[in-house]
Symmetry: D2
Subunit: 368 residues, 4 copies
């Protein structure tokens, strides 16, 4: 298989570049009969859209979805769904300046080698976070599918930025407050501190990283295809495709390494007539299969690589070390805009898994 394809039954094909005509996605395998309105897709895109607050990049894009195929009379048809957003606010000049000087922390160098210099360098081309617009458009449909067929809900939110960590109290809190502030953190007081820290670091010409947590509620037991197609395997593969992700952990994650069996094992209990666990160190996954508890995954995002501070790099034309100040418009912290991306990527994987396992049907029954 080629690299721009994710999933097997709810299969997503990514295309487009940062400064080309636009960026898009084809979904193949979406069941027929799912009611879906353009607004439902647009709503997700708007959450990812740049230029909406002082803590994001100043590139201003409307990011209006154009549905090119696969939806007819308000329903999916079972045919491939192609969707695009077009690029409008493109300024490729800065990229001419840095053509020969790969930016530290970026794919400029590696992509140049891999594609023999034929890759589109403008705005990072395929390696721009802009291509995550396609993840969001397809995730919007995946989320609708999960909600409609299984009442599964996916929620992502900012857990940590620049070392400031929020203590989450409940998923109700998450649902209600995560989008009440610019950093997308459910705890308002911490959110305000995060925002200030981002603005301060931006002023210094620097950037911040952080952690996004994603949760899926109401997943049926048994999703995943061990051993190699385990649920954690498939989720991590998709999540590492999001630019800037450097780590993925489930449940107690890296903390599990420092626990003992007796403190890490989740005891089975009865929650009414349902089998549950008293704690959720597993993050909802046992043996690569969902266990009915909330699926909990955390993603570490590195600080934005494009910073205004002077850095060292190589002038490739002369093969000499040189200084570089990265031009262009960039987010001082990718975490807030990564929130809807993470949420939608999780939804894509779960929709795909549920279709593979046959618990989402290939035709959604018509509701009258």
């Amino acid at each position: 298989m080629t690299g721009n394809i994710l999933g097997e039954k709810f299969l997503v094909v990514s295309f487009g570049e940062s400064h080309g005509k636009g960026t898009g996605v084809v979904i193949d395998g979406c069941p027929a009969g799912l009611p879906i309105m353009e607004e439902e897709i647009q709503k997700e895109l708007d959450l990812r859209r740049p230029g909406t607050s002082p803590i994001t990049t100043m590139r201003s894009e409307a990011d209006r979805v154009d549905i090119l195929s696969g939806i007819h009379e308000g329903h999916t048809t079972g045919a491939p769904i192609c969707m695009m957003v077009y690029n409008k606010d493109v300024d490729s000049k800065p990229y001419d300046l840095i053509k020969d000087t790969p930016r530290p922390g970026h794919a400029d160098f590696t992509a140049g080698v891999k594609y023999g210099g034929f890759n589109d360098p403008r705005g990072g081309g395929r390696f721009s976070a802009r291509i995550t617009a396609g993840f969001v458009m397809s995730g919007a449909i995946a989320k609708k599918l999960l909600k409609t067929c299984l009442d599964v809900e996916v929620l992502a939110y900012t857990l940590e930025i620049g070392g400031l960590r929020a203590e989450i109290e409940s998923y109700d809190q998450v649902r209600e407050y995560r989008y009440s502030n610019e950093v997308r953190c459910p705890v308002s007081s911490v959110a305000e501190e995060m925002r200030e820290k981002i603005l301060k670091v931006r002023k210094e010409g620097d950037s911040l990283g952080g952690i996004v947590e994603g949760v899926a509620l109401n997943l049926p037991v048994g999703i995943g295809e061990p051993v190699f197609g385990s649920l954690d395997s498939e989720l991590s593969k998709a999540l590492f495709s999001i630019p800037a992700v450097k780590g993925v952990e489930f449940g107690s994650g890296f903390g599990a390494a420092r626990k003992t069996g007796s403190t890490n094992n989740d005891q089975f209990i009865l929650n009414g007539k349902k089998i549950a666990t008293s704690t959720n160190n597993s993050g909802g996954i046992l043996g690569g299969l969902s266990n009915g508890m909330p699926l909990v995954v955390r993603i570490s995002l590195k600080p934005t690589s494009s910073i205004a501070k002077k850095q060292r790099t190589i002038n490739l034309a002369e093969m000499k070390e040189t200084d570089l100040i990265v031009p262009g418009r960039h987010d001082p912290c990718v975490v807030p805009r990564a929130v809807p991306v993470v949420e939608n990527v999780i939804a894509i994987v779960l929709a795909d898994q549920c279709l593979r396992f046959g618990i989402i049907p290939t035709v959604i029954p018509r509701i009258d």
Copy 2:
């Protein structure tokens, strides 16, 4: 695709159960002409074999590889390679006792639901760490392929057990000392502490987790197929297939979340005529592509779920909560035996990537 398949060009199919006839693997797509001796595969298997020290399970298996196809006159033929190890020291009685009481932290419950109770429960069946023997057999061939064609070397080792963390000084140290002790840690003094902690916790009927670090040296620049087939995506997918893994991180990993762009970005420098970076926070991956620096990945392993302490679970026949003391023979800490597994799984992914990218040929030239 089904769940027991990993990779696309160096494609591994896993089969077998813990207490059935044995466990095995088919490799499809291995280039023709690779010289390979049974001993080279056996050597890797021996590193994973149980029953060799006081800190592993007491199940005693010879784990002799039986090559069933695909190797002829000391070379791979280009045909599928099927290999098996047979189960000898099987004691399925303990599993009768716990048939109706799923073990906390195990796949007993989730697998039972997924497969409608038809799954082979003896020894955990497909969910036993015993199936990683197949990962090791196929990894042995992958390592030979990487070494022969590209001089790529893969090294894994114990970084942390029970909170005791080793400070690695060099990859030479790793190569020389990691197998000099039972815990497979390159720093002898820490290794001894780890060993004692494992023995102490075992005596308490408990278990420990830890962290394995894996490194790949000499990788060419540009390996990986962004966006969804990025090198980190493919590695994490494979690594989460190893039982007990709860987290995967590359380079600065979760630490990147607390850094700034100026401290996390690796500056490009010239190392002779080769482009390198002054630090390796990227872990050798930029934009999902290898950048020529050592690939560095860390895996968090949870403490063994099967412990001798009393735990709470559900009696499924009566749907009532009950106590459980898990019977059977188990490792008090999976980290040491996970080391060769992690190393071989990394090798499988890298061999597959290099074949996909065309830098390993489909026929290995004959050396006379």
Copy 3:
């Protein structure tokens, strides 16, 4: 994998409908650095375009290619290439009339059942021959790739229409004369008879079938991945995706069933220093692998299902048998317009095979 994907390394994703916004294709995996001009793609599209002669449908479409991604400064970039043609001359009214009466020989009935009635029925939706525009756009790039890297040439032509069969003398004749007439047959005298027969049958409200032959010259020896990915397997899979195809045969094909080993075996001979065969009953494939002789494949196309004659069908709303006269604009014989489609589909498969086998590189060296 889902149904709208063909190939693995030169991977084609089809999308679009007959009466929607348009029909398109994404190619993922095309090597970087291939020089390609819009005109080269347009030229192939023009050969498939409807409304150009009295023996084709009267639907008139410009079918101008719009390249949405993946090509930059006249070269492929290694990124996914998305291309579309838009629908302009759409008349969906006839499809309202036949909504409840599936057309004999068409997918109306089977698609309606499969997609629960949610499929787009206008113009046959996804089951229209119009979607082959995407096959042609991607095939144009595949042909350029094969020509540039391997000097492989693919030629298709009309061999038989309505029982009238041409005797091909040489591939030079094919190359020179196949597009010299409306039926795309290299033998002018037979072409004229075919044309007259089509016009006569059209007047009767009926339609004709025929046979297209495809040839690939200069293929290297050893293309194909037995057993299940044999070259004939992969070609036939792709060719049966073309609407109206009912049979595929290679070399002596169905004739081989009536021969003996001594008359069907091709004797090996030396052609200069090259190993060749004295005859080509194998059609260039031995054991699922190309053998260096011309690859020869024939495709049987059924007569167009949409005819003006009265036919019997079911009124699905009333579940009663009824008469039907199919409205709309249709080709009286699909063979001539199938010629470029067959040629391009063969090219797609061969490009994919050569990429998988590593004989086309992932970056095309820049020619200065």
Copy 4:
């Protein structure tokens, strides 16, 4: 994907060689809970077994199935099923004689080039019809699955040998008489003529080809994944993997090329409350989807390439033309032994399709 894999949800991996330890198969994705006895698999193997009549090869193999994994207490477990037959009656001497002189009509030459001479040449290695034992073992399970879940029946039989063609009257006749004679033809009088012709041609040191017809009854409407995963596409891909197949056609097949729309279209009729067609020129497939009529496919098999007559070939060591008389034991006509292979391959594809489409569940409900 690699070449030795067929299908996606009922996924078959082929391994083994003609003169190695044996030949086998792994099935991944078979639903859990299917009751299956070793005898059901053995019964199919016995139909393919060589050495059972004067019209087959004299190689004598017991071909006893060894189930290595995936079946527990008489049911499939949902885990991969590995099965093998071992080679016993191996005589590799003749292959030493022809090491440098590729047999006309065989893969000796093409495989030698593809695998750089590293392929196992003994008995044709991977290119021997012996590997179809694996197709039969996996097909036996596919047939049981289709019968158990959907009451689908697959029947193959000899339609034509050496130009002698049987007229089939009914599928009851097929079911009752096809295995009543050595050539596996349902019409006894024609079967006797076929048998005599084979014996006559064998005496002359020559061989015969023929046609096998395969039928699937009771298929639900809508199986197949257009456009590229159409039912005919998937079946033809699998059928061309059977050694010696040179053509595949559905329904009116190549005959459709000579018909008109009005004579080839099948009229829709009501058969009680079921929608059917008055004729079956479609062979049960419309628009790449099953239409509920019997699926009818025909396979052209070339005459056995290994014949006792003198042939011309190249001495590769000296690069000179030379004579060759092929040694070894061979079938004078592969058609009779191909019958169970074709039947089982069709079953594999249909089981895979039904699993993909979700109409076979992933767990078979337990029958008490």
